[in-house]
């Protein structure tokens, strides 16, 4: 994980350099609006404050790219707004707009870091790159605006203007995803193209909403002035509340899994903590075998729930050890487990793992049956946990491994058993 340590400072240095460069550009070109013009001061202040706030209220969740939709929409608005009510043009150009954005983003991020909230400098730097692209393309390339001069009036019809701005924003967002995946991919040694596709896909819907909001703010600025900023941000703010809800839904499912995994303990069917131990060890073995984060999550849930079907038993199995139960009983427990997990309706991946947790490995070899690697992991780790019964001594471990070796290749997948031995940190037993 050395890469993870290095890319954040790189992004941080990059951000500071951007701030310095844009400040120098402002001073060099003299692109500073007069402070006597109160409308301009208000407009710039409103955009700046909104960007700071937006950076503070940024959102992140597992499986979601970190994003600051409010800050991004406001920054796009600042980049693209060239006209205020009464046909008054804004009296600043690209360097000044970029400096305001850079300073506001830096301030918001600094506050977050100071408050020890989780921050990703890579994502923040990526956002700034997007704004640079949008500002430069629109103000310098399309409008040909000179620093310090007001932009010339657009002659295009409103709908053409809207389409143009939208295109510029999309280009900017693609650059953002490209920049961050390049930084991530290079530092982690991963495939840049795959990281890019993943980054883009996971943030696509939100990015579109952000881009459109930025464009709408710029389009509504001529009739509404700075009032357009809060007004058009409202839908995004409401969406943020919905995002909280989205996060809490994930939490509910996680909590119910935890509760279900404890049911058999509470009912005295399994020794206490059995499911948690199987889950922790399974994840270690899965890591050893190079599973993706998504598969590891499913594996963890499956391991937590693998014994839940035991609640249907009239008499608990001694020690809750399914490995000692008759194969027919094992199958019945498995079927009940799968039925209960399927009832949640959202853990199809978990149910599929559990469906094969008792299938002997020989059916893969002899019959060519497809059993997920994750199921084989649960089978091996569960057997190991049942056989050691929670004991951590070297002797209990030896005895358990010995039993598993008897079923190697017939019951258990040798690759998984190897990985288990590796994660137990033991020397070769054979």
């Amino acid at each position: 994980m050395n890469g993870a340590l290095r890319r954040e400072p790189v992004a941080g240095v990059f951000g500071v350099l951007c701030l310095l460069a844009s400040t120098v550009a402002v001073i060099q070109t003299g692109d500073v609006p007069s402070l006597n013009d109160s409308t301009t001061v208000w407009v710039v202040a409103a955009f700046g404050v909104t960007i700071v706030l937006g950076e503070w209220f940024h959102i992140s969740a597992p499986g979601f790219r970190g994003a600051a939709p409010i800050a991004m929409a406001a920054a796009f608005g600042l980049a693209l707004t060239t006209e205020l009510p009464g046909g008054v043009p804004v009296p600043y150009g690209a360097p000044f707009a970029l400096t305001v954005t850079a300073a506001a983003m830096a301030l918001g991020t600094t506050v977050r870091v100071a408050a020890r909230r989780d921050t990703s400098l890579v994502d923040t730097a990526g956002r700034f790159v997007a704004i640079v692209v949008a500002t430069v393309v629109y103000r310098v390339v399309v409008l040909g605006q000179q620093p310090g001069e007001p932009a010339r009036e657009t002659v295009a019809a409103p709908w053409q203007q809207a389409a143009l701005l939208l295109g510029i924003c999309l280009l900017a967002l693609v650059t953002d995803a490209l920049f961050t995946s390049l930084l991530r991919g290079l530092s982690a040694g991963a495939n840049v193209r795959r990281t890019f596709i993943e980054e883009f896909r996971s943030s696509f819907a939100l990015s579109i909403a952000v881009a459109v909001t930025g464009v709408l703010i710029a389009l509504a600025a001529p009739p509404l002035g700075i009032a357009a900023l809060p007004l058009f941000l409202i839908p995004l703010v409401l969406t943020l509340f919905a995002f909280r809800r989205y996060v809490s839904i994930r939490a509910t499912y996680l909590q119910s899994i935890r509760t279900l995994s404890r049911l058999t303990d509470a009912a005295g069917y399994t020794p206490s903590g059995h499911s948690e131990r199987v889950a922790a060890l399974s994840v270690q073995v899965g890591r050893e075998l190079g599973l993706s984060e998504r598969e590891l999550l499913d594996l963890e849930y499956a391991a937590l729930l693998h014994d839940i079907g035991q609640v249907a038993l009239v008499e608990p199995i001694p020690g809750g050890a399914t490995v000692l139960a008759a194969p027919a009983d094992q199958r019945r427990i498995e079927a009940d487990t799968v039925a209960i997990v399927r009832e949640t309706g959202v853990f199809e991946g978990v149910a599929r793992i559990l469906e094969h947790q008792t299938t002997p490995y020989r059916q893969v070899r002899e019959l060519g049956e497809e059993i997920p690697l994750t199921s084989r992991i649960v089978k091996v780790v569960n057997a190991y946990e049942d056989l050691t019964a929670g004991a951590r001594s070297a002797r209990a471990r030896e005895a358990a491994v010995e039993r598993i070796y008897l079923g190697l290749g017939y019951e258990y997948d040798p690759r998984v058993v190897d990985a288990l031995l590796k994660s137990l940190g033991s020397p070769a037993h054979a």
């Binding site: 459109v212 001529p222 058009f232 409202i234 809800r245 509910t252």
Partner: protein
């Protein structure tokens, strides 16, 4: 906005229902005709565009978010219609959008939805007009302050009026169709979707601003799609949250059912009856949910009791064994610890065996110190036991059941017993009761 989406359980059907439906439809048609004759007529192009948007928004609605209603952002289109196409236009948009409904099996419900929506559009547009809302190109050269006064405020008022019309008409039909008290349902709709309804109405205002003052015309429809889809995503999350709760509960009940199959049906009946009683007592919407959760899971602690004991008949148990079984409520409350949305329901499960006079278990609480969910669960399980007692007479009247409950005056909350009698009178026995039990 909300519409009637699910076939009703058909237990309560007031004879006033057809009259109510006919009245709503007739009023809606009359409103349409009068507005066509008296008020300015809309342009055809924008009207068709808005109708199309309305139809699409209704087609991609989030179906059934519980409470037998569904969400769509049609309300946002209707708010925008109020300013863009006027009263008659908004009426047309509302009526047309709901007419194509392949998922709705009952044509009466489709008619009602269309009529309600037409009325809602017309009411919103009329509010806008009466408050001096600007129309069409009149907005083009307004200053920011004028836009706020002549477009923003009237549109917000129209939004609120639309929400109220929607909530009251829906509550009316659910009251007559399913016997849910009008006030309870009204509060439920308003607190559930009312805030979202009014809040997302802002998007309607944005739509209007883009259309006229920003000069985008029909192109604004394309741009406003992004906020509209964001709103839809938010609605979906609302539905998903409710569904995630239902699924969690269902999973727990299924787990219980693998151990004790009869418990599944008992849970269902307890949940239905408890919800009726809670509605009858006029509890706030959040508490009705808590009561239902507590009733559904009231036996979840059986998972922690040995199956041997559960299978024995109650009369053959020794006092110690009885106590072990009765301890299930404490076990159950502990089992679901850690699931946030069930936090309030836990006390309802733990205290279900308390007595109203304070001599019960496990904590000896008395009167209103016992959580209302626990008091309701106590009554529902007692009713279920009485009705299903194998020694009881095959035909029991509600009065008989009430008499049995009142025979032990210290056990139950008398208010809850009264509410239960009223609820049973209104709804009949919960659905899975056998046929020989007369109501």
């Amino acid at each position: 906005m909300t519409d009637v989406s699910q076939a009703a359980t058909a237990t309560v059907r007031s004879r006033w229902l057809p009259a109510y439906l006919a009245l709503v439809v007739a009023t809606s048609i009359a409103t349409g005709v009068v507005s066509w004759l008296v008020l300015p007529r809309p342009e055809l192009g924008p009207l068709l565009l808005l109708c199309l948007m309305g139809i699409v928004s209704f087609q991609i609605r989030e179906p059934d978010v519980g409470l037998r209603i569904s969400f769509s952002f049609l309300s946002i289109i209707l708010v925008a219609s109020a300013a863009i196409v006027g009263v008659f236009g908004a009426w047309v948009v509302g009526s047309v959008s709901m007419l194509i409904d392949r998922r709705q099996p009952r044509w009466t419900a489709t008619m009602f939805n269309a009529a309600m929506c037409g009325l809602l559009g017309a009411a919103a547009a009329l509010t806008y007009r009466l408050l001096g809302g600007a129309e069409g190109s009149g907005m083009t050269h307004m200053s920011t302050a004028e836009l706020g006064l002549h477009v923003g405020l009237p549109l917000l008022a129209a939004d609120v009026v639309g929400c109220l019309v929607n909530a009251s008409l829906i509550s009316g039909v659910l009251h007559l169709d399913q016997g849910i008290p009008f006030g309870v349902q009204l509060r439920r709709v308003l607190s559930g979707s009312g805030v979202a309804y009014v809040g997302y109405g802002i998007i309607g205002l944005l739509f209007v601003i883009l259309w006229f003052p920003a000069g985008l015309d029909a192109f604004s429809a394309l741009l406003v799609l992004a906020p509209l889809l964001a709103a839809r995503w938010a609605f979906i999350q609302y539905g998903e949250e409710l569904r995630s709760h239902e699924r969690t509960i269902d999973t727990l009940v299924t787990a219980l059912g693998t151990k004790e199959p009869a418990a599944v049906d008992r849970s269902r009946r307890a949940a239905v009856l408890a919800e009726w009683i809670a509605e009858e007592l006029g509890l706030p919407p959040g508490q009705i949910g808590t009561v239902r959760y507590a009733a559904t899971l009231h036996e979840i602690g059986h998972l922690g009791v040995a199956t041997r004991l559960l299978r024995r008949s109650p009369s053959s148990l020794s006092p110690t064994e009885r106590r072990v079984i009765d301890g299930h409520c404490v076990v159950g409350a502990r089992m679901i610890e850690g699931i946030d949305f069930l936090e309030d329901a836990r006390s309802g499960i733990r205290h279900q065996h308390e007595r109203f006079d304070g001599t019960g278990r496990p904590d000896g609480r008395a009167g209103h110190d016992i959580p209302v969910a626990a008091r309701i669960v106590a009554v529902t399980t007692a009713i279920d036991d009485v009705v299903r007692d194998p020694d009881a007479a095959p035909v029991l009247s509600i009065a008989d059941v009430a008499g049995r409950l009142r025979a032990d005056p210290g056990r139950f909350d008398p208010d809850v017993v009264t509410a239960a009698v009223v609820a049973l009178d209104k709804h009949g026995w919960p659905a899975s009761a056998p046929a020989e039990v007369a109501s």
